[in-house]
């Protein structure tokens, strides 16, 4: 972990950025679906605004510049001056994507992404040159930041020979409330050129009437130097909605009847900063020290006593306070504002009670508060591993206790049982920590759809379902690439062009549905498009052309569909920028299998294609049935077992010369001999009296696996087999049993799809 506090604050800013981007996407999706209410638009606006605010605090200029322009446009929308058209929505989404790129670039210290400019220009074109009206009433929603009080290099007074700008800057209360600091702005101005700053205090009421959180002073700054209007506006970029700003070129404004402030560096210490009602918060830097030679002020006094001590302040210094409102001291205004600040400030939301070191991070006020802790993933993984070891250890202990031959009702056995329950609970809880909703993943896919559809000129809408479905974090991470690929495929190959769709009697806009749900102990993610479906004759022709199948091969529809998964297969006539490079679905399938998942295609011509990905919930543990086959111990996932049965001769029917089916509850189920399929032994003469596990797959196919005996049912920790063996058909992973031996974990669906189905011994000799 970084020890630099700034680095930590920065990191938390970026984490919050991600959350803001997520809520931005959500709100945009809502808008896209037609909810144009103020709240939704406000969420968009706030998200962009908060990112901008935070970024400004870190000096991430590219991000700020982008967010600002985006925000300006959103502001137009918010004020109802801009219509929300589908084109506008597209641009909003695009801009949100770019905003994300900017955030990432800023986080990684990479150069800002290219190509955001056209998007902004297009966005701004939408505004149609509508005048940007400053929102005086706006309350920004980030917390005050701690400020260091060092002075920037201030310039000396010079005679105004160069162009002179007069900046009239009147902060509103909102400016202070949002933690902005006039001093910084003035200082920034001072960097532009030579400044002469005056403070207007005409509006300042007497102390009794003074609202401690009000804003009463106005600064008039004359800047001499090579400065443009834009430079000056840039300084006030963040506060222009919360202040009154007039920028005029020319000499001093005669109408201004203020007092001449000494140049900034003469102010040393007595800075206008304290005009911020919260600046005197304990823990901040050295308080205001008034130069003793200021007119109208008594000797240096603890004016900036901690706000929590108003009484002390008054006791020490009542006359000065009273005098203040009338005293023509340069520091008058700041003090007037600072002194009465304490008590009321503490009662109002942001700031008063916040220590100065608080992150200047943007807080989303509207997001519902839920207490969360951010934990390093490594720590969780270590915990997961430890719990895995604990489970193995507990199993070993249970085994040795059982071997010791203790009576079942002994204290040790009871204790062990409680221990087992606890272990299980711990394990479940640990796994829950790793589980995350698929929502961020799906949101990424929204972006892929937008990019892909604009690249191929199709109108595509992405619908998502079951976003809250929780899946292991690793699964989510490793799913991103295959899913991206499949979404691109759906856009590029699955959906037709708008014209073709219209001709087929469909809406011009294609729909891709991305859904996630829990089904029988696994997570099923489906990508459905309403496109043309798989063109089977074309796929077949392509496969023959590429030599992947024999020209006279008889293939069922689903077999043809599955050809898509063969390496080097691509049906697109033209290799587009998106897909069609030949690294296609085979890579997707490999990635899914690497996660212990399966992928299936279901396609109907003219109606669309559905890809189903079925994944294990977690990569770490599973409930399994431990069985014995040819003296090998195997684990079959419990989730796939429907029932177990003992075979009789009557159950078994011969299907072909090599294969058997069994008759179970009115249905015929293919019989597979595990021992033979895994190469442990030859198929047996007779399976009568054998034990079968009846398994079911996601698609409802059932199969019966013959085992020698069932040992027990227990939870096992999944250990990956090293990649060096590639994919072993029928084997998902391995586990370590209580005796320290390794047992293989079967994947029944994969086993069956690769199985020979040979359960009759007479053919064994032929097969060699």
């Amino acid at each position: 972990m970084a020890t630099d506090p700034m680095a930590e604050i920065r990191a938390s800013f970026f984490v919050e950025c991600e959350e803001l981007l997520e809520s931005l996407q959500d709100a945009l999706s809502d808008m896209d679906e037609g909810s144009h209410d103020n709240e939704t638009i406000n969420v968009v606006f706030r998200a962009v605004h908060s990112i901008k605010g935070g970024a400004g605090a870190f000096g991430l200029n590219a991000l700020v510049a982008f967010a600002h322009r985006y925000e300006t446009v959103m502001d137009e929308v918010r004020c109802g001056r801009m219509e929300i058209t589908p084109e506008a929505m597209k641009l909003f989404f695009q801009a949100a994507d770019f905003l994300q790129d900017h955030v990432r670039a800023a986080r990684d210290g990479a150069p800002p992404p290219d190509g955001s400019e056209p998007c902004l220009v297009a966005l701004e074109a939408l505004m149609g040159g509508a005048p940007v009206v400053e929102e005086v009433e706006e309350v920004t929603d980030f917390q005050p930041m701690g400020l260091s009080f060092d002075f920037g290099p201030a310039d000396e007074e010079t005679t105004p020979s160069q162009p002179v700008w007069t900046v009239r800057f009147k902060p509103t209360a909102a400016l202070y409330a949002s933690g902005n600091e006039p001093l910084h702005l003035l200082r920034a101005l001072a960097k532009l050129g030579t400044c002469t700053t005056r403070c207007e205090t005409d509006d300042l009421p007497s102390l009794e009437e003074l609202d401690p959180e009000g804003a009463y002073v106005t600064w008039v700054v004359e800047i001499t130097g090579d400065v443009t209007d834009f430079d000056i506006r840039e300084v006030f970029d963040f506060v222009e909605d919360v202040c009154e700003l007039e920028i005029t070129s020319g000499g001093a404004d005669a109408a201004v009847g203020g007092f001449d402030l000494p140049p900034l560096d003469g102010l040393e210490g007595a800075d206008p900063l304290s005009a911020d009602p919260f600046a005197g918060t304990p823990g901040s830097e050295p308080m205001l020290e008034l130069p003793s030679d200021l007119p109208g002020m008594p000797a240096p006094t603890p004016v900036a006593a901690p706000p929590q001590n108003p009484s002390a302040l008054e006791m020490n210094n009542p006359p000065s306070l009273n005098e203040l409102s009338a005293t023509p001291a340069p520091t008058e205004a700041p003090i007037a504002a600072a002194a009465p600040a304490p008590a009321p400030a503490a009662s109002t939301g942001p700031g008063a009670s916040v220590p100065s070191g608080n992150p200047p991070a943007a807080k989303e006020n509207s997001s519902e508060p839920s207490a969360t802790v951010r934990v390093d993933l490594d720590r969780i993984d270590r915990l997961v591993n430890l719990v895995g070891e604990l489970v193995i250890n507990q199993a070993m202990l249970a085994q040795s206790v059982a071997e010791a031959g203790l009576p079942p009702n002994s204290a040790v056995m009871t204790g062990l049982e409680a221990f087992m329950m606890l272990t299980r609970d711990i394990q479940d809880s640990v796994m829950m920590i790793r589980a995350q909703p698929v929502k961020p993943l799906f949101q990424r896919m929204g972006r892929i759809v937008r990019e892909a559809s604009s690249a191929v000129g199709k109108d595509v809408r992405l619908r998502t379902e079951g976003e809250t479905t929780e899946v292991d974090k690793t699964v989510i991470e490793r799913l991103a690439d295959p899913l991206t690929h499949m979404i691109r495929n759906s856009v590029d190959h699955g959906l037709e062009t708008p014209d073709k769709r219209e001709a087929a009697g469909k809406t011009r806009e294609g729909v891709i549905t991305l859904s996630a749900q829990h089904r029988s102990g696994r997570v099923v993610i489906e990508i459905t498009d309403d496109g043309a479906g798989i063109n089977r004759p074309k796929v077949r022709a392509k496969a023959i052309e590429k030599g992947l199948i024999a020209p006279d091969a008889q293939l069922s529809d689903s077999e043809i569909d599955n050809l898509l998964f063969l390496p080097g297969f691509s049906t697109a006539d033209q290799v587009s920028a998106l897909s069609g490079r030949g690294v296609g679905m085979d890579v997707v399938r490999q990635a899914i299998q690497g996660l212990g998942g399966r992928i299936t295609i279901h396609s109907e011509p003219g109606k669309g294609t559905r890809f189903s990905i079925s994944l294990p919930l977690t990569l770490a543990v599973l409930d399994g049935m431990v069985v014995n086959v040819a003296n090998e111990t195997l684990v079959v996932p419990l989730s796939s077992i429907l029932e177990t049965a003992t075979l009789t001769d009557d159950d078994i029917r011969a299907l072909g010369p090599n294969t058997n089916v069994i008759h179970v509850r009115g249905a015929f189920v293919p019989l597979y001999d595990l021992g033979a399929e895994l190469g442990y032994r030859a198929p047996m003469e007779s399976y009568a009296g054998g034990i079968v596990l009846l398994t079911a797959q996601e698609n409802g196919t059932r199969s019966a696996l013959v085992v020698d005996s069932i040992l027990e049912q227990r939870q096992v920790v999944i250990k990956g087999l090293q990649r060096s063996y590639g994919h072993i058909p029928g084997v998902a992973a391995a586990t370590i049993l209580g005796d320290g031996q390794i047992a293989l974990i079967l994947d029944p669906a994969d086993l069956v799809s690769n199985a020979s189905g040979r359960t009759r011994s007479q053919s064994f000799a032929l097969a060699g």
Partner: protein, 155 residues
């Protein structure tokens, strides 16, 4: 037992020599992580013949290669006298089942000679170098050739 990885200068090479059938082979000791007694390996279905199976190495699944079969000889029988040498090549860890470990040899690199080209022997491609120690010929194995190949078998 865990072998200590001693630092060595580059001109010297330390080899762990072991017996396979009646012949003597060796591997660079720097790639040896530990030596374990024989444990029964869980066979992997559809695995290459020389892959004996997997064993539990303190909680991780370790593939075991029957080196004898890998080099085209009869399988090692697998009893208490046999040992598994755990080696690491790159990121890959595997166990090599051999008949017995015999010695640790330190010799200058200059004494190694490349094996002569003999096409008829499968074992030849696994041998990196040959050397003579006390009148015995010692073969230095090329471990990356012996271990299962990620790319070929994963495809």
């Amino acid at each position: 037992m865990e072998l200590e990885k001693s630092s060595q200068n580059s001109s010297e090479l330390e080899l762990l020599s072991f017996r396979l059938a009646d012949e003597e082979y060796s591997v660079d000791i720097m790639s040896v992580r530990e030596i374990r007694g024989w444990t029964r390996a869980t066979p992997l279905p559809h695995a290459p013949y020389h892959v004996r199976g997997v064993i539990n190495l303190r909680g991780t699944v370790l593939p075991v290669v029957d080196l004898s079969v890998r080099l085209g000889m009869e399988p090692v029988e697998g009893d208490a006298r046999n040992v598994i040498i755990v080696v690491q090549v790159g990121s890959q860890t595997a166990g090599l089942l051999v008949n017995a470990v015999s010695d640790i040899l330190a010799l200058p690199r200059t004494e190694l000679q490349p094996p002569p080209e003999l096409a008829a022997d499968a074992a030849h491609s696994f041998i990196e170098a040959l050397t003579i120690v006390d009148g015995r010929m010692i073969r230095v194995l090329d471990l990356s050739a012996v271990l299962p190949d990620d790319n070929v078998e994963a495809a």
